[in-house]
């Protein structure tokens, strides 16, 4: 199901190339000034503190200067999170101050490897006080409300942290062409709970010392799953290898893992608004051209953009080809 969009883009690509003697020219678009909005990228997972990254939107053709990335991040926000019983105030913590065990999550939010964090400019994110006070850690089954006050604006969001559903097993499936013995698909056997409305998001992480590979958690190109088609059933299905969006589509290796890869699968239960956020975002990113129209990313943030999501995550590790 997830790969359907991929297929249609392949088909349309084929058609376009075959039939359309199209030509491309650079143009200048005269766009009206857009209102700058605050963007929330936040998560809470079981046993983990919440992390929130505040950035702002920037005009496509305008002031954004990649050399001055720090300007992109929003500082001095007052953020509180309510877990249904108490309010917690978040503090601003810059990358260098972040304890090592939380670096991976920060890297995930930024979409970069943990190693490259050190080369990052001094940017900051918001979390609960990790060094003292009353620590807020995610608890499945709870609903979290966040309220953000910054630069005269108030943003709010609510998310439910669902219970994790771990796969029954994860295993490698050989390439359908027996001649290709170095590539494998990641498959899972999965028992879906007997209620409709379960949504999931997954990421994969890959190490392979012999190939000099150490990737962070990358979400699948189509990273979210709806249980409508297998509600309450035990099913086997494959998950494509996560990759950076800029990596493109390599026909021969897309989705596959290599023999010897150590794969960590992160599979998280999510609620419907979080599912909608990622599905609309990925759909809009994957479309374009004459045959599609603008898909507005569905956000659960009132007063801003982005997502604050509860991820009921479980982790499994597999060494491919063993």
């Amino acid at each position: 199901m997830r790969r359907l969009y991929l297929y249609s883009s392949v088909v349309i690509l084929g058609l376009s190339v075959l039939f359309l003697a199209s030509c491309e020219t650079d143009i200048t678009v005269d766009l009206p000034q857009a209102e700058q909005k605050i963007v929330v990228e936040g998560s809470i997972e079981p046993g983990m503190p919440p992390f929130i990254l505040l950035t702002r939107s920037a005009p496509f053709f305008g002031s954004f200067d990649p050399n001055n990335l720090a300007e992109f991040f929003v500082r001095d926000a007052v953020i509180t999170i309510n877990d249904g019983t108490a309010d917690y105030t978040l503090i601003e913590l810059c990358l260098s101050e972040l304890p090592e065990e939380f670096q991976a999550l920060a890297a995930e939010l930024l979409g970069v490897t943990e190693d490259s964090l050190s080369t990052f400019p001094e940017i900051c994110l918001y979390t609960v006080d990790l060094f003292g006070g009353s620590l807020l850690l995610g608890q499945p089954g709870k609903t979290y409300r966040v309220s953000i006050s910054v630069e005269g604006e108030t943003l709010t969001a609510t998310t439910y942290l669902p219970f994790p559903v771990a796969p029954d097993s994860i295993f490698a499936r050989p390439h359908p062409d027996p001649a290709v013995d170095s590539l494998f698909r990641l498959s899972i056997r999965f028992s879906d709970p007997d209620t409709l409305g379960n949504y999931y998001r997954y990421w994969t992480r890959r190490y392979n010392a012999s190939r000099d590979v150490d990737e962070p958690f990358y979400p699948g190109v189509s990273s979210v799953i709806d249980d409508l088609f297998f509600n309450g059933q035990t099913v086997d299905f494959s998950l494509d290898r996560g990759q950076p969006r800029s990596a493109g589509f390599d026909q021969d290796t897309y989705g596959f893992f290599w023999a010897g890869d150590t794969v960590v699968l992160k599979l998280a239960s999510i609620d419907r608004p979080v599912y909608s956020f990622w599905s609309t975002l990925e759909f809009d990113a994957g479309s374009g051209g004459p045959f599609s129209s603008a898909t507005v990313v569905s956000s659960n943030i009132q007063g801003g953009l982005g997502v604050f999501g509860g991820y009921g995550a479980s982790y499994d590790t597999l060494i491919i080809g063993e």
Partner: protein, 818 residues
Amino acid sequence: MTAVRQGLIVLRPIAHGQVPASLLVNSALLMKAFFAVLLVLSWLVVPAQAQTRYTLSGYLKDAGSGEDLIGASVFLADDPGRGTVTNLYGFYSITLPAGEYKVGFSYIGYESQELLISLQADLRQNVSLKENSILINELVVTAERTDENVQSTSMGKTELSVEQIKTMPAIFGEVDILKSLQLLPGVQSAGEGNSGFYVRGGGADQNLILLDEAVVYNTGHLFGFFSVFNSDAIKNTTLIKGGMPAQYGGRLSSVLDIAMKDGNNQEWHATGGVGIISSRLTVEGPLVKDKSSIMLSGRRTYADLLARPFIKGTEFEGNGYFFYDLNAKLNYRFSDKDRLYASGYFGRDVFEFVSPDNDFNARIPWGNRTATVRWNHLFNDQLFSNLSLVYNDYQFEVGSTFEDFSFTLFSGVRDYNAKLDFDFFPGEKHSMKFGANYTFHRFSPYSANATDGTAEFSTDSLNQKFAHELALYVQDEFDVGSRVRVNVGLRGTWFQQVGPYNQVIFDEREIPSDTLRYARGEKVRDYYGLEPRLSARYTLGTHSSLKAGLAYTNQFIHLVTSSTSTLPTDLWVPSSGIVEPQRGIQYSLGYFQNFLDNDVETSMEIYYKDLRNQIEFEDSYVPELGRDIEESFVFGRGRSYGAEFLVRKNKGPLTGWLGYTLSYTWRYFDALNGGERFPARFDRRHDLSAVVTWKVSSRWTLSSIFVYGTGQATTVPLSFYLIEGNLVNEYGPRNGYRLAPYHRMDFSATFSPDKRDDRPRAFDWDLNFSVYNLYNRKNPFFIYYDIEGDAFSETLDISAKQVSLFPVIPSITWNFRF
């Protein structure tokens, strides 16, 4: 009324599982109302007959082929204002006081005839007209052509003959009726090279497109770049943009009525053509001379065959695409009173892809099928009837496998339709039409099956939808005094969605919580509509008139598209508990003036349209196979208004037209664009087309087209933000950005060998040279932002690109006939 209503309620439990019962009650109700209206109308209008009157009636035919002539004029030569036109089957009837008349018969492109008729009893007079073979500067006019455009009550109605279209330039040399229609004021193209069209600010689904009375749901091949209508098989095309007469309904914007050729009932002929991307062949001839004929026509593209050697060994090897059309028609004339027609269309597009290593393959066929059986019966000289039985369907399929993942998808719509129409000609200045039209629809939204390893996924739980649609109509055209002619009509419609149907109920978290089940034939929801239609003509002078029109329309089936083009994946959906019928009203006003002996026609029309229950996808729509598509709709209102100007020259060596449209098309949706009004994507402020055809000599015909249109409205992202390090679009106002204006000039030259005399040659041919986009204008097809690099590595580079589709394209087509 109340009694019947109660009857309806009492019957409901019985009707459970028995569709016809409720159907009959509803029809009976509508019928009653209609016959009442019918009676009143005929009583009101039939004048007291002081003199003995007789009826002159018959068929108008092409002398060479025996084809019926549709919309040909029959008039009194001494008083051209008095007359009638032939109907869809070439039949005319006019009732006049006893006496001697000089009667003219004329049709565009044919030599007119005049007959001296002594009307002392009802008279049947079939007339055959000869095709014009006028040589340059030798105009032969045997009778004055009537100024039908000025005299009739119809507004916004245009006929295009295939002959006219054939000399015009065409992209890849493919003559296309729908693209030619786009050159008329008020009709807009759905995009560069696209055969889809929008009429007066209405959506693509608001055009009723009929091929021999069968609805054609998807008119495009290859994403709409070519229409499904093979011009060799087509006889006549009529487009009604406004003031839709009551005989038509079910769509808000326009009617495009296309008649296939009947086939030559005099002698066998073959016509065909060889072009750069496709070839055509049509064979027609008499089965029994004068009584029965047959026509078979086919067309196939061969781009896939041509491309195969070039893509061999490349990564595009395995790509294949072609389309084909087949048209067939058979008719038998039992007598002057009875005639039977059977016609059919079958067309398919097939796209295939096989990746070189055979990992991924896909086969995607789609297309329409229609079959029509019609029986014309003449009850008497004044009452003509036609019974049609129509089957039509549109299907779209995907079959694909990718390694161990396989996927099939099916969607489509299928109709069974029965139609009974009467033409009644009670007097010289009075004609009526009435009839009934019933359709049983079956809609198949996406039904998908997928296998991934051992897991199987199926949407079988997502049901098809079924519906009844019934319409009864009556329309009456009559003169009031010498200057005013009125066409008044009423159409009553009833639509009912019936089971089997499972309606999924969602809770506040948008999670399916319950299912409402309807049994087979059980009513899910029904809708009624009463549609008054009115058009009137007021004669100002001998060659000028003023017209006004008013039309209420209801549309019960809808096509909602998320794309900026018309695509084979677009789905038709019925009105239901969630989707209410689209309702529209159009007011129009026109001034018509002819000059130079009706050689030059001019018109100016203004219109205002109010459209309710318009449908769009919600802002954040993502196709979800597991959800009923209705759940993703939002509803709003549309408004459009504009003015259309046309100058058209029909006779002589130099013909053509100049059309200009000024229009505004707005949409108002609470759930879109923050509740602010926004332009429809086909909102086009200025639209200009010029068409010139010059018959230079008996050998050469030159033709040229120029079009100019305001740029397409589109939604573009104004700003971006970062999520997981990736750029995400933040869109500006809906359709708030205009692409660059569209303009283009085409040119064609047609050469045909010299004819020594008037007689048709045993083997006739012509060669058409066509140049599309003569000055190589880079018209925008779409724009996109090219994003390179990465926000976090100081390499981000964003640029805007415009993609243009067709550069200058020369083509050559060879046409033959023997």
